[in-house]
Amino acid sequence: MAFYEVIFITRQDLAPAEVDALSDKFKKIIEERKGKLVSKEYWGLRTLAYKIKKNTKGHYVLLNIETEYSALAEVERVMGFDENIIRKAIFSIDDVNKEPSELKVSVNASDKNVKHN
């Protein structure tokens, strides 16, 4: 088992609940294959540095995962099909950083305290 960082950006006009549904979907895929979702971060609706598929903004979600690579490959494959996801990246990491990153806004996209800029 190894640690991975999965980060994906969704379309700007997606509702927060839909963003949560997406990350739940990936969580399920991982857990079905005996992996573990260690932590999750939602970075809010951020302004993109450049346009991606006509989007100027996007919801950023970061998933810290401990799993075999096979489960991750399935996640990547499913992400490729999803039209709501405009960008994705997977990085292997030595260990999960316990402290939340500075970009973190909340855990779930549908939290009421999240400020959408």
């Binding site: 980060i7 540095a49 960008r87 950083n97």
Partner: protein
């Protein structure tokens, strides 16, 4: 001429443009150059990642280019991590590939 020598005595150590420490030996007209310490020496490597935008913004030019270590004085090891982190951040639209200059003709 004498005044010049006195000035050097007041401040024998100066940092020149390339980030080298210049120590002038008074009355001999020679100067030695000593390498300055890496500015990220005390920062753990794990802190240099694509999420640390505050740090990465210090190491890109106005145009959005990666600043060479010749200018910033960062060690080779850290410079490689910075370069990789900036490239990852660019792919995720956290940093721009280029930012256009406003007064371009």
């Amino acid at each position: 001429m004498r005044n010049d020598v006195k000035k050097q005595e007041d401040n024998p150590m100066t940092v020149d443009q390339d980030g080298f420490l210049r120590i002038s030996l008074v009355n001999q007209g020679i100067s030695i150059r000593k390498r300055r310490k890496c500015p990220l020496h005390d920062l753990p490597s794990s802190e240099i990642n694509y999420k640390n935008l505050k740090l990465l913004n210090k190491y890109i030019s106005e145009r959005g280019k990666i600043l060479p270590s010749r200018i910033s004085g960062v060690s080779l090891k850290k410079q490689k991590r910075i370069a990789q982190a900036i490239k990852r951040a660019r792919n995720l639209a956290l940093l721009s590939f280029i930012s256009k200059q406003e007064d371009e003709r």
